[in-house]
Symmetry: C2
Subunit: 390 residues, 2 copies
Amino acid sequence: MLGNFTYCNPTKLYFGKDALGSLGAALAGYGKNVLLVYGGGSIKKNGIYDKVISILRSSGKNVYEDGGVMPNPTSEKLAEGCERARAAKADFILAVGGGSVCDYAKAVSVSAYCDDDPWEKYFIRMEDVDADTRIIPVGCVLTMVGTGSEMNGGSVITNHAQKLKIGHVFGENVFPKFAILNPEFTYTLPKYQMISGIYDIMSHLLEQYFSGEDDNTSDYVIEGLLHSLIHSAGIAAENPTDYEARSNIMWIATWALNTFVAKGKDTDWEVHMLGQAVGAHTDATHGMTLSAVSLPYYRYILPYGQAKFARYAVNVWGVDKAGKSERQIAEEGLDAMEKWMRDLGLVMNITELGVNEDMLKGIAKSTLVMEGGYKTLTEDEIYNILKASL
Amino acid sequence: MLGNFTYCNPTKLYFGKDALGSLGAALAGYGKNVLLVYGGGSIKKNGIYDKVISILRSSGKNVYEDGGVMPNPTSEKLAEGCERARAAKADFILAVGGGSVCDYAKAVSVSAYCDDDPWEKYFIRMEDVDADTRIIPVGCVLTMVGTGSEMNGGSVITNHAQKLKIGHVFGENVFPKFAILNPEFTYTLPKYQMISGIYDIMSHLLEQYFSGEDDNTSDYVIEGLLHSLIHSAGIAAENPTDYEARSNIMWIATWALNTFVAKGKDTDWEVHMLGQAVGAHTDATHGMTLSAVSLPYYRYILPYGQAKFARYAVNVWGVDKAGKSERQIAEEGLDAMEKWMRDLGLVMNITELGVNEDMLKGIAKSTLVMEGGYKTLTEDEIYNILKASL
């Protein structure tokens, strides 16, 4: 736990099969005008929309709607959402959906009364939000698991004209006031989306793990979370309605990216930068962009952080050290991870996501370079990692 | 993650060598009258008292003092603290010390304006504190690590006349508003106190681990925290000023008992009930009362939770399973734990804490019986466990 840091996470979580029953109480302290934000309409098919509307009505709220949030919310959609929030004089934004819907709700929260272009201010210039910024409070009813957006200040927005997909983390006051986490709400998700979310969680954990050389409690906690995730992912892939497995995955997702495990340690995030660049050029599913680039990236940086990759191999994948060099142990860990990824059904290359060789230069150009990992990449190195991911 | 639960932990943590520099800002939103609560005066010797006073004065606060909080704060001292808090018209209680001082500050917080006998209301009848209860907000500057009191609503008070030491957990509004965690503030602590605190942390983790039969993410997280604790404890015992080890231990202590790992799972707490009964009869150091009774308790309940004890042996102590029965594996785990405890220098029997055979019936009588463990104990069983702990 090196360095100085503060930790504060004010989001209140309501977890379990009866969690939605707390929505009325959770909203009690806020004003009457609620902007209900959701995605493509699956919540209308699975009945969650009706349940939420019924609770809002019986709580005496005026409901305004902003549907059609896309999997990679765009800067144009953000502008539209700000208009709707202002027109509704929204006192509260209720996001019902997955990470994209929660991310979008937080972006609207800080942008609705912003006197500048929100894309430029918050995503290009990455300006902070402080206690004086006028925001609209947000709450979440989660229907898809992975991003951790339900308990953090993060938001990822895509600008197609600029071919950029950028994430920014807002301050404590933008964290959702509450999140309703009912594992059963994730049952109807197609398997492709479920395992994509599982890999998003895995990547959050690994990108915070593969960084830093200190001996840090967070690394041990991450190993614990990885063990639980790997175990429950296997059960959920076989039986998507196994409540225990789905509930563990939901809980891990929240804790993988609510700032806890990042405190007092370095973090990397280059896999997310690579994946988000692929996403900006293809609109592919977020978690699959991460799975498709991860192993070429990790195999490339392995020599720069070999001891940590060897620790990962032994502590997470149970690789037997006897008679092997540190390099061999480290490589066997990534081989074990690759087998697990293939068995789970993850996308293992960016070709499958619509990338071809002609696009690589452009994707490399829009990949942000992070400095927390074991190797700070050059544009050439990024190009080569993307090429190895084809 | 079975069952329905809520999670909310509003305490803001300032961590690191410069953490005290945030005290002024942390107090800014509260009134001028600060009741400074501390223990036997070690903070006057190591300079922390002077630093805190200087910050309070330069922040324009009126400082009132309530020193002399004993290691096991008594119901009489609590009554005195309530008087002082009322006389000072305290707007805020700043606890500077270890878990006892933080516990005591929270007890004063809820009791100062209580219209009943606080001991009867909160510790005997264990009544809840709700949002309407008039409380005095609390903040902590931690100088001793172990109890986790800096980020939870718990408070343990001893009534010597009744020979009872009882802990109660208050609601969210009683959680400290902030905690200042500077690992260097714990350097001057005698080794006996340091390792006592380490075992208190270990016990918090184990009492939440050895309960329940579900497959729960918390069990994996606890295993991670145990690995880090065991690793850092060894380093700190050799070199008490190893910042990395002491900072990891401080961080683990907070997360071991801030409600996170208890969510969605059963917990036991019988070791704390046994230890607190020993404490009520001897005034012995808290962590040592736990270490002295743990192994006789765990060896007694092992057959009722054998699979979990075997998992513990393998995942935490690296016991090799090959060719052994589950029972043998489980027992070897406790043997490995015993060796680690002895090497660390923990007290391994209650005789050393001042207990003799004549006292056992009385201690057994004042031991509360918990129902979350693998075996709900009878008074005879408690007596036998205490006898095996002599």
